[in-house]
């Protein structure tokens, strides 16, 4: 029996591997940069980003895919990853100013990666974004990004694919924010 258990573990390791891997640092995509650049918004600051109150702290630190941990390259926190991704996009578009009165804040409200299935996997991310002008709240919205993709029985294929798709969810979540006309107006577009 012991041999069978050992053999099963070895088989699982061969098929899936076991490791902790950070997602790569966010790289500003051209679509987001051009959207922000041409949006007419003012240069903005980025304030506090954190896990929403009442949620399990582990939700902010890592997600799991077939026994592998996927974590953030930014301070072991996915809410910080979201913040740094936003700053990277704003900087690439020339719309970041650490001294601006307008500032964007965020709270991570959902963070899921489900890639155990052999045929399909999905990820869900959501964040509560606010924009303040000084102390005045001028934008307040929860945005949600759900992604679904074809998965594989083979861990060596499924795990990197899940990691890439999961990280891309942050890019897509931020793209929703940049496309929101209310967000643009709050950030000074058209003024």
């Amino acid at each position: 029996m012991t041999l069978r258990i050992l053999a099963s573990i070895a088989f699982c390791v061969l098929i899936e591997g076991c490791a902790t891997v950070p997602v790569g640092q966010h790289q500003p995509p051209a679509e987001s940069v051009v959207t922000l650049r041409d949006s007419g918004i003012a240069a903005v600051n980025v304030g506090e980003f954190k896990l929403a109150a009442g949620l399990n702290l582990a939700l902010d630190k890592s997600v799991s895919v077939r026994g592998n941990q996927v974590d953030s390259p930014n301070g072991n926190s996915f809410s910080l990853y979201l913040k740094e991704s936003l700053i990277a996009d704003l900087k690439a578009a020339g719309k970041y100013d650490a001294t601006a009165p307008l500032s964007i804040q965020g709270e991570l409200t959902e963070n899921e990666l489900n890639a155990a299935g052999f045929s399909e996997a999905n990820a869900v991310l959501a964040a509560h974004f606010t924009v303040k002008n000084g102390n005045q709240l001028i934008y307040d919205r929860v945005l949600r990004q759900q992604s679904t993709w074809k998965s594989s029985f083979v861990g060596a294929i499924a795990i990197p694919e899940a990691r890439n798709q999961y990280a891309n969810g942050y890019t897509q979540l931020l793209a929703q924010l940049y496309a929101d006309q209310n967000f643009r107006t709050a950030c000074g577009a058209g003024l």
Partner: protein
Amino acid sequence: MRLWMSAAGTTRSRVLYLTLLLAASSLSGCATMYVDNGIKDIAPVEFHHPQPSQPVQLLFTFETKGTPNGRATESLKKQVSDTVVASGVFSSVSGEPVTGGALMSIVINNVPITDNAFGKGFATGLTFGLAGNTVSDGYVCTLDFQAHPGSAKLSKVARHAIHTTVGAKGAPPNATKAPSPRDAVTTMTRQIVGNALKDLTADPAFGQ
């Protein structure tokens, strides 16, 4: 085979045997990478150099089957930037906005060419390399350039491939053996970016 026959009597032995075989197959892989000769390095003199040259903002993304791959992007970002700098086409290359607003986006998408690559590699491993195979990876480089905000976008596409032989398999035709996997990827990146950039500079609309 004799081992298999003698082990076939008990389930325990069979499970152990299969596991050892799988472990051996995964360790016995002897892969060699070859860069396709379809496109070559571009010398700086082959680029059309506009006068005066302008600064450009460069954005780079490496994709795997169309999905951004952050770790690979990080790994190749500097090399892509160095290739653009070495071309001498632009007066400076930066990740942030530049005077004049020129923006160039380079996306390299890794797409599978060989069907069932995992199955082929698995079969090679299972036969301890006797059943050699070649697996090919395709790369599509899309270069978009905008001289300034609001101007028309120029797009160029270049294609490349890396072939990997596993087990007892001869070198693929029309390809150059790479000293290491890293060399294969850096050579492919330098050549595919150089060729896309050369096409851009040859466009009469570029530099106007």
